[in-house]
């Protein structure tokens, strides 16, 4: 585990209200209350962290990758990005980003899409959508509630001619993003198990999630 990085005078490991260690390839979910800050940390570097957000008191309102991209007029996520719901509401705002490039165009890996991309022999490999299905089911949701997600730390450049490809992650050990919640949200994470593309260096690694209360 890397050393703790302070981004705010009031932020320390000791005063975090939640501190979660998410093993490589595993799912996680938890509530982030309005005003709280969630930090998602890529502990080893070059790990893709597939993330969804749902309004805590109405799961029908959830992260929308298209509304988020449209609202900011661009395809990538970084510091200052407003995370927008399917109802056009701001769910969270990214307040810190030590990496600089995150994807929301390419979605989560799944057994089904892996088989199409990499050959039928890769169908029976653990994948993010299976993590998402298992995790959202714990909250009374189902596959129909799984929408295009954010891939924190995944680098998917899109060329002016439309070509896109997943390239090596640029995050270093300890890189993090911080998002402050504008409403109570359920955060659902799949710590991507993908071993067939460079989004996590072919070697999924653990991550850390920290939550702090608001500063005022």
């Amino acid at each position: 585990m890397t050393d703790f990085i302070k981004t705010s005078a009031s932020r320390s490991l000791e005063n975090a209200v939640q501190d979660h260690f998410i093993p490589a390839e595993a799912p996680w979910s938890g509530i982030v209350r309005k005003g709280q800050t969630i930090r998602i940390e890529d502990s080893h570097g070059q790990q893709a962290i597939d993330t969804l957000f749902y309004r805590a008191d109405d799961f029908g309102e959830r992260y929308s990758n298209q509304d988020t991209m449209r609202a900011q007029g661009g395809a990538y996520i970084g510091a200052g990005t407003k995370i927008v719901s399917n109802e056009g509401n701001v769910m969270l705002v990214m307040t810190a980003d030590s990496c600089g490039r995150h994807d929301t165009s390419a979605g989560a890996c799944s057994c089904e899409s892996n088989a199409v991309r990499f050959g039928h022999g890769t169908k029976y490999l653990h994948a993010c959508r299976d993590n998402f299905v298992l995790e959202v089911t714990r909250h009374g949701m189902s596959k129909r509630d799984i929408v295009p997600n954010i891939n924190f730390f995944m680098n998917v450049p899109i060329k002016p001619n439309g070509e896109m490809t997943i390239v090596d992650g640029i995050s270093a050990p300890g890189d993090y993003v911080e998002l402050v919640a504008e409403m109570d949200v359920l955060c659902v994470i799949s710590n991507c198990p993908q071993v067939n593309n460079p989004c996590n260096g072919f070697d999924p690694t653990p991550i850390r999630v920290l939550i702090w209360d608001g500063e005022d």
């Binding site: 509304d67 991209m69 399917n86 165009s105 596959k143 929408v147």
Partner: protein, 272 residues
């Protein structure tokens, strides 16, 4: 911590495997893809036509579409963007999945010969004709708020509300509305990821034909795209024709890429 690090040799072998996939995907497909379909659009054989619908500017429509049928979407006098969503008729939890569609085909630029995938790794549509090649997978449609910001004071309709209505009348809800495909929306990104509307070569008569590769329910919304440069809200009608369109024996969409071949193998397994 249950974590076993792979060896550098394993990682290197994995990377090599990936780079081979990537090379095939990026090099093979463009060679095989044809030029855009000719204008003006040739007439559809009258005997093949099942239904024709004119969607007024600002409105929505949905239809059943059986495997082996197609929709021609004709933007008529020009300037229209048509948002499209689709569900598997037998199981509406299977739906249009644009992120898989672009990831699997290594491009956000859909055009003639490309396919559109569901979340289950199966092909929903083959893009069998397409005169524009100018479609948007990224930005989504207009909303009440985006219209209000662009056309203050004007009475407008928007894609978001239209699709809530489409879903609602099918017994579905907003939970079922997938990310949408915008037909006739020339959106491209610059090197920083910023969106730009690239003016179309043709402003009238553009058309696209999407053949169904499974039985589906399709929803369409005919509202101006959020980046549409027209400052006036004045969407024009589009004509949608549902017709029988059996695939050719040497159908390009089935063979153009290794990914499409595997997608159709998944369809075959479902239909068997």
């Amino acid at each position: 911590m249950m974590h076993v690090r792979r060896s550098p040799e394993e990682i290197s072998a994995n990377r090599q495997r990936y780079e081979e996939h990537q090379k095939k995907g990026l090099e093979f497909a463009p060679k095989a893809l044809p030029a855009p379909s000719p204008l003006p659009a040739p007439a559809i054989d009258a005997a093949a036509i099942i239904h024709q619908e004119t969607i007024p500017g600002g409105w929505y429509w949905s239809t059943a579409l059986k495997r082996g049928e197609a929709l021609r979407i004709d933007q008529g006098d020009g300037g229209s963007t048509v948002a499209l969503v689709a569900w598997n008729a037998a199981d509406t939890s299977e739906r249009l999945n644009l992120v898989d569609t672009v990831k699997v085909q290594w491009t956000t630029a859909l055009g003639k010969g490309r396919v559109i995938f569901s979340d289950m790794g199966r092909v929903m549509f083959s893009l069998i004709e397409d005169s524009s090649g100018a479609h948007d997978c990224l930005m989504g449609g207009s909303t009440a708020a985006s219209n209000a910001a662009k056309h203050p004071g004007a009475k407008t309709r928007n894609t978001r509300d239209n699709l809530v209505l489409v879903a609602g009348k099918l017994g579905l809800t907003r939970r079922d509305i997938p990310a949408i495909l915008n037909l006739f929306a020339p959106v491209r990104v610059d090197d920083e990821g910023g969106f730009h509307w690239r003016g179309k070569l043709s402003n009238s008569g553009d058309y696209a034909e999407l053949r169904a590769e499974m039985d589906m329910i399709v929803g369409l919304s005919n509202c101006p795209h959020p980046l549409d440069p027209d400052p006036v809200y004045a969407p024009k009608p589009v004509i949608v024709t549902r017709f029988r369109a059996a695939p050719a024996v040497d159908d390009l969409a089935r063979t153009a890429t290794a990914e499409a071949v595997r997608g159709f193998e998944n369809n075959a397994a479902m239909l068997a």
